[in-house]
Structure formats: structure tokens, C-alpha cells
């Protein structure tokens, strides 16, 4: 039963890869990569239980964290074309990047 579930998750990851290659916009690709990552977390958990050795859940936790940070980072990069922007002071930083003087 667990092996069948792991195979099903694997099939859905393959479908997500198809959308990642075919997606017309950047956001489609990013959506499918994000979903692929969370399915990877589930696959690690299910495979650990299927092998009878659920010791890889730490890796799954780290994968969930990295997945979220990656999505937000890539979104930020495609919006500002740089990662050197603090998201809390973005107005001034964007003005700096475009050569204008920031508001005093």
C-alpha cells in the first residue's frame, strides 16, 4: 500500500515536471517547481516508512524549508532583477537601483 502511494506521488511529480518544461510563463514553471518540492517532502516520508526506517524525516523538514525560501527568492529575483534588495525597504532600494535619488 505504501509502495503504491509512493508510486502515485512519483507519477504526480513527473506530471509536474511536464508542466515545468511546458509552462508558458515563468510563474507556471515556478508554481510547478514549488509543488514538486512539496511532493518531494511527502515522497521522502512515505519512502522512509515503506523501508521501515523513518529516519529521513529530518531531511524532509530541511527540504520543506528550502523549498519555501527558494520560491520566495526566485520570485524576488524576477521582480527586482537582483537579490540585494531588502524586502522591508524596497522602495528606496529600487530607486537606488534605477539611478534616482531616494526620497529624503
Amino acid at each position: 500500500m505504501l509502495v503504491a502511494a509512493a508510486l502515485a506521488i512519483f507519477v504526480s511529480m513527473s506530471l509536474m515536471l511536464v508542466r515545468a518544461f511546458a509552462g508558458p510563463t515563468t510563474y507556471d514553471r515556478l508554481l510547478s517547481v514549488n509543488s514538486f518540492g512539496s511532493k518531494t517532502v511527502l515522497l521522502i516520508g512515505v519512502m522512509g516508512f515503506a523501508n521501515g526506517r523513518p529516519d529521513f524525516l529530518d531531511i524532509a523538514i530541511v527540504y520543506a524549508l528550502i523549498n519555501f525560501v527558494t520560491t520566495i527568492g526566485i520570485l524576488k529575483f524576477f521582480r527586482y532583477r537582483t537579490l540585494e534588495v531588502s524586502l522591508s525597504t524596497r522602495r528606496r532600494a529600487v530607486a537606488d537601483a534605477s539611478g534616482e535619488r531616494p526620497d529624503a
Binding site: A4, M13, V18, T25, L30, L31, I61, L65, T71, R79
Partner: protein, 116 residues
């Protein structure tokens, strides 16, 4: 009595894991076949949250000791927090960079009676 309860929990847990995997496949087919970015993000985000919840609750019922259960619940909490946040950030970024949602009539195919 206790062994019976444990075997029932294992059975229900396997059923939940399988149900979660099926929900995950349904979501992936939706991401492949839906016509628009916003409909795709709907399919992906909803089925990710539901499928992850079902699979992790099923794995908890399968049992594996205290620390394994705690780790599974941590993963569930992370997915419950980060999944909708990432989906909202994606939709917000797409909308502010002028990705248009489908309008009314965009999906109508010219039928045979229209052409005749």
C-alpha cells in the same frame, strides 16, 4: 484489545496515505490540464495542502515512536504555513506583472454550427 486497536490504526493509516497520494495525482493532472495560470495555482495549492495533510496524518497513524510523530507534525505545520504563503506570493507576483486571468468567452471553441 490494544493489538486490535493498533492494527485498525495501521489499516486506516494506509488508507489515508493512499487517499492523499490519489489527491496529489488529481492535483497534478489539474495543473497539467487547466487553461490559465490562476486556475492552475488553485489546483496545485489546494491539493498540495489536502494531500500533504492526508499523507502525514496517515503516516502518524502508522506509528513510529514519539520523535517520528513529532517530526511529522513539524513537517505538517511547515507545509500548512509555507504552502499557502508561497501560492499567495506567486499569484501576487503574477498579477502585479500583468498576467491576465482568462476572461469570459476565452475558452469557447468554434463549434460546427458556428462555422456552418
Amino acid at each position: 484489545m490494544l493489538e486490535q486497536a493498533a492494527s485498525i490504526a495501521a489499516f486506516v493509516g494506509q488508507g489515508l496515505v493512499l487517499a492523499g497520494a490519489i489527491v496529489t495525482i488529481i492535483g497534478s493532472v489539474g495543473v497539467l490540464r487547466f487553461p490559465d495560470f490562476y486556475t492552475r495555482i488553485h489546483a496545485a495549492s489546494v491539493t498540495d495542502t489536502l494531500g500533504a495533510g492526508l499523507i502525514i496524518v496517515g503516516l502518524v497513524l502508522l506509528g513510529g515512536g514519539f520523535f517520528v510523530t513529532v517530526k511529522l507534525l513539524i513537517i505538517w505545520g511547515l507545509i500548512l504555513i509555507t504552502g499557502p504563503t508561497a501560492s499567495h506570493a506567486l499569484a501576487n507576483a503574477a498579477f502585479t506583472s500583468h498576467v491576465k486571468p482568462l476572461g469570459r468567452g476565452d475558452l469557447r471553441q468554434p463549434s460546427a454550427s458556428d462555422e456552418g
